[in-house]
C-alpha cells in the first residue's frame, strides 16, 4: 500500500491519515454533489436575471431586451407594496407568536409532569402536517363562517361569527402558519433548555432567585443563541409561504393576503409574464440573502467546534 502518511502531520486533529486514498479519489467522492449543486444554483439564477431584463410573455411570440423596464413596472405596481407589507406582517407576527409562546412552552415541558412524553408528542404534531391539509382543515372545519367550529363557539357566547378568510384573511393565515411553526420553536428551544446545566439553576435558587428571576436572568440568556437560530431558520421558510395562501384565499380579497411568493406566482403562471415574474424573483432572492448572511455567520461559528 502506498503510504503518504507524512501529510497527516499537518492535517487537523480529527482527520484520518489518508493512507491509500489519493487526493483525486477524495475529490471524486465530493464531486457529484458539488457539480449538481453548482448547476442547480447557478443556471436558474442566471436565467432569472436574464429574463428579468426582457419583455417576455408566454402568450406573445418573441421577446426583446428592455433593460430595467420590468423593474420599473414592478416598483410602480401597487400590488408590490401590498405584497411586501403582507410578507413582513406575516413573517413578523408568526415569529413573535412562535418564539414567544415557544419559549414559554419549552420551560413548561422542561418541568417534570405526568405523561409529559405523550403531551410533548401531541405538541410537536402540527409540524408534520402538510401545508395543504392544515390550510383546508383550518379554513373549513374550524374557521368556516357558517359550519365551522369557531362560528359555533362565537354564536354560543352570543357574538356574531367572524368570516375569517373574507374579513381577516391575513390574520387567519398568520394564526394558521403560527400553529404550524410553534412546534418547531418549542422543540428547538426545549432541547436547548434541557442542555442547561442544572447546577447553574440550583446555584441561582440558592442565591434566592425566584422563578421569574430564574427565567429572565438564567434561562433567557442561555436560550439567546438558540432563539437567534430559530428566528433565522423560520424566517427563511416564512418568507416563502405559498401553499397555505394558494388553497385558502388565492391572495385575496384583492391583494389583502398576497405575499411576495404569491405575487410572483401570479405574474408567472396566471399572467404568463416571465419578465415581470423574474424581476420579482430577483427581489425575493435579495430579501432571502439578507437573512441568510446573518444565519451563515452564526452557523460558521458552530461548525468549528
Amino acid at each position: 500500500m502506498d503510504t503518504t502518511g507524512s501529510q497527516a502531520v499537518t492535517a487537523p486533529p480529527h482527520a484520518l491519515a489518508r493512507g491509500g486514498i489519493s487526493k483525486g479519489a477524495l475529490s471524486a467522492l465530493k464531486l457529484p454533489s458539488i457539480v449538481l449543486l453548482v448547476l442547480w444554483s447557478i443556471i436558474p439564477l442566471v436565467m432569472t436575471l436574464w429574463f428579468s431584463l426582457q419583455h417576455f410573455n408566454l402568450l406573445e411570440a418573441g421577446r426583446s431586451f428592455v433593460g430595467l423596464e420590468n423593474y420599473q413596472y414592478l416598483i410602480t405596481d401597487p400590488s408590490l407594496l401590498a405584497a411586501v407589507w403582507n410578507t413582513l406582517l406575516l413573517v413578523g407576527w408568526v415569529l413573535a407568536i412562535t418564539v414567544g409562546l415557544g419559549t414559554l412552552l419549552a420551560v413548561l415541558f422542561d418541568q417534570d409532569f405526568w405523561g409529559r412524553g405523550v403531551a410533548r408528542v401531541l405538541v410537536i404534531a402540527p409540524f408534520f402536517v402538510m401545508p395543504t391539509v392544515s390550510a383546508l382543515v383550518w379554513k373549513n372545519l374550524l374557521m368556516h363562517p357558517v359550519n365551522g367550529l369557531f362560528a359555533f363557539l362565537t354564536k354560543t357566547v352570543g357574538l356574531s361569527p367572524i368570516d375569517w378568510f373574507t374579513d381577516w384573511p391575513l390574520t387567519a393565515i398568520i394564526i394558521m402558519v403560527a400553529w404550524q411553526w410553534l412546534p418547531f420553536a418549542t422543540l428547538i428551544l426545549l432541547t436547548s433548555v434541557q442542555a442547561l446545566d442544572p447546577e447553574r439553576k440550583e446555584a441561582a435558587r440558592m442565591d434566592g432567585a425566584g422563578p421569574l428571576a430564574l427565567f429572565f436572568f438564567i434561562i433567557i440568556p442561555h436560550l439567546a443563541r438558540s432563539i437567534g437560530v430559530v428566528i433565522m431558520i423560520e424566517m427563511l421558510f416564512l418568507l416563502s409561504v405559498f401553499a397555505e395562501i394558494f388553497v385558502t384565499t388565492s391572495g385575496g380579497p384583492g391583494t389583502a393576503s398576497t405575499n411576495l411568493p404569491f405575487l410572483i406566482y401570479r405574474y408567472a403562471l396566471l399572467d404568463f409574464d416571465v419578465g415581470g415574474a423574474s424581476a420579482g424573483g430577483v427581489f425575493a432572492i435579495i430579501l432571502a440573502n439578507i437573512v441568510a448572511i446573518f444565519l451563515m455567520r452564526s452557523l460558521s461559528k458552530s461548525i468549528q467546534s
Binding site: 454533489s33 443556471i43 391539509v133 372545519l141 354560543t156 428547538i188 441568510a292 452564526s298
Partner: protein, 274 residues
C-alpha cells in the same frame, strides 16, 4: 399533599391543557373523518355519532386518484431521499474525515444554495421543465427534491460522521481496508442510526413540500399535497371526505416525525442546536 406534589399536579394540568389545545385541529379532523357528510357540517357540531368508515372507503377506492397520488408521494419522497443519500454519503465521508482548508467554505456554500427562495427560480425551472417535457412527470419532481434536500442531508450526515471515532476507521485501514470497504463495512454500519434519522427528515420534508408539487405537477404526477389542494374547489363541501383523505395523507409522516423527534432538532438547525 406535599407542596411538591401539588406543584407537579398543577404543571400536569397546564401541560396537558396546552398540549390538547395545540393538537385539537388534528383531533377534530380525525373525528370528522368518521362522520357522514351531513354530520360533518351540522351545527351544533356532533360529538357523539355512529362512526362510519364510508369516507375512507370512498377516498381509497371510490376515485382512483387517491391511490395514484399516494404512490406518487411515496415514489417522489423515498426516491429523492435515496438519491440524496447516494450523493451525500461519499461527500460527507470525505469532508468529515479528510478535511482540508476549504472544507468549511464548501459546507457553507452548499448550505447557501438552500437559501435560494424557490419562488425566485420558479420561472426558469418551469420553462426548463416545459421544454424538456418534465412537467407533470414524477421523476422530474423527484430530481428537484433531491437537489433541494441535498445540502441538509450532507450537513446532517457530516455532523453524525464527526461522532464516529476516526481511530476505528484507522484500525480498519491497518488491516488493509480500502476507501470503499472502509465506507461500506465500517462507517455506514457505525453511523446507521444517524443515516436513518437523516433519511427520515428528508422523507418528511419531501412528503410535505407544497411549492414545487403545486407548480410542476398536475393530474398525472400529482402527490398527496396536490390531491388535498384539489378539495379547495368551491363546488360543494366534502368535509368528511377531506378529513379522511387528510388523515391518510399525514398519518405515515406523523409516525416518522415522532420516531425521529430527537434527531430532528439537529437536522432542522443544520447542526447548530444539538
Amino acid at each position: 399533599m406535599t407542596k411538591a406534589t401539588r406543584r407537579k399536579l398543577l404543571t400536569t394540568a397546564l401541560g396537558w391543557f396546552v398540549a390538547l389545545i395545540i393538537f385539537f385541529p388534528i383531533a377534530w379532523m380525525l373525528l370528522t373523518s368518521f362522520k357522514t357528510e351531513i354530520e360533518a357540517v351540522s351545527t351544533p357540531p356532533r360529538l357523539f355519532f355512529h362512526p362510519t368508515l364510508e369516507n375512507y372507503r370512498d377516498v381509497a377506492f371510490g376515485r382512483a386518484d387517491y391511490l395514484k397520488c399516494a404512490w406518487n408521494s411515496i415514489y417522489v419522497s423515498f426516491g429523492s431521499t435515496l438519491l440524496a443519500l447516494l450523493l451525500a454519503v461519499p461527500s460527507a465521508y470525505a469532508m468529515a474525515f479528510f478535511p482540508t482548508k476549504k472544507t468549511k467554505d464548501l459546507m457553507l456554500w452548499m448550505l447557501s444554495t438552500k437559501f435560494m427562495p424557490a419562488v425566485g427560480v420558479l420561472v426558469p425551472i418551469y420553462l426548463i421543465f416545459r421544454d424538456t417535457k418534465l412537467l407533470d412527470v414524477a421523476t422530474g419532481l423527484l430530481m428537484v427534491y433531491t437537489l433541494v434536500n441535498l445540502p441538509i442531508v450532507v450537513w446532517m450526515l457530516y455532523s453524525f460522521f464527526k461522532e464516529v471515532p476516526p481511530e476505528i476507521l484507522e484500525a480498519g485501514r491497518m488491516d488493509g481496508a480500502h476507501a470503499k470497504e472502509e465506507l461500506l463495512y465500517l462507517l455506514i454500519p457505525l453511523a446507521l442510526p444517524g443515516i436513518a434519522s437523516t433519511a427520515l427528515l428528508a422523507i418528511i420534508l419531501s412528503w410535505n413540500e407544497a411549492f414545487w408539487s403545486l407548480n410542476l405537477t398536475a393530474s398525472k404526477a400529482a402527490p398527496l399535497t396536490y390531491y388535498i389542494a384539489s378539495f379547495s374547489s368551491p363546488e360543494g363541501l366534502f368535509w368528511a371526505k377531506l378529513s379522511a383523505a387528510s388523515t391518510l395523507a399525514i398519518a405515515p409522516i406523523l409516525v416518522f416525525g415522532w420516531m425521529s423527534q430527537r434527531q430532528l432538532v439537529r437536522g432542522l438547525t443544520f447542526g447548530a442546536v444539538k
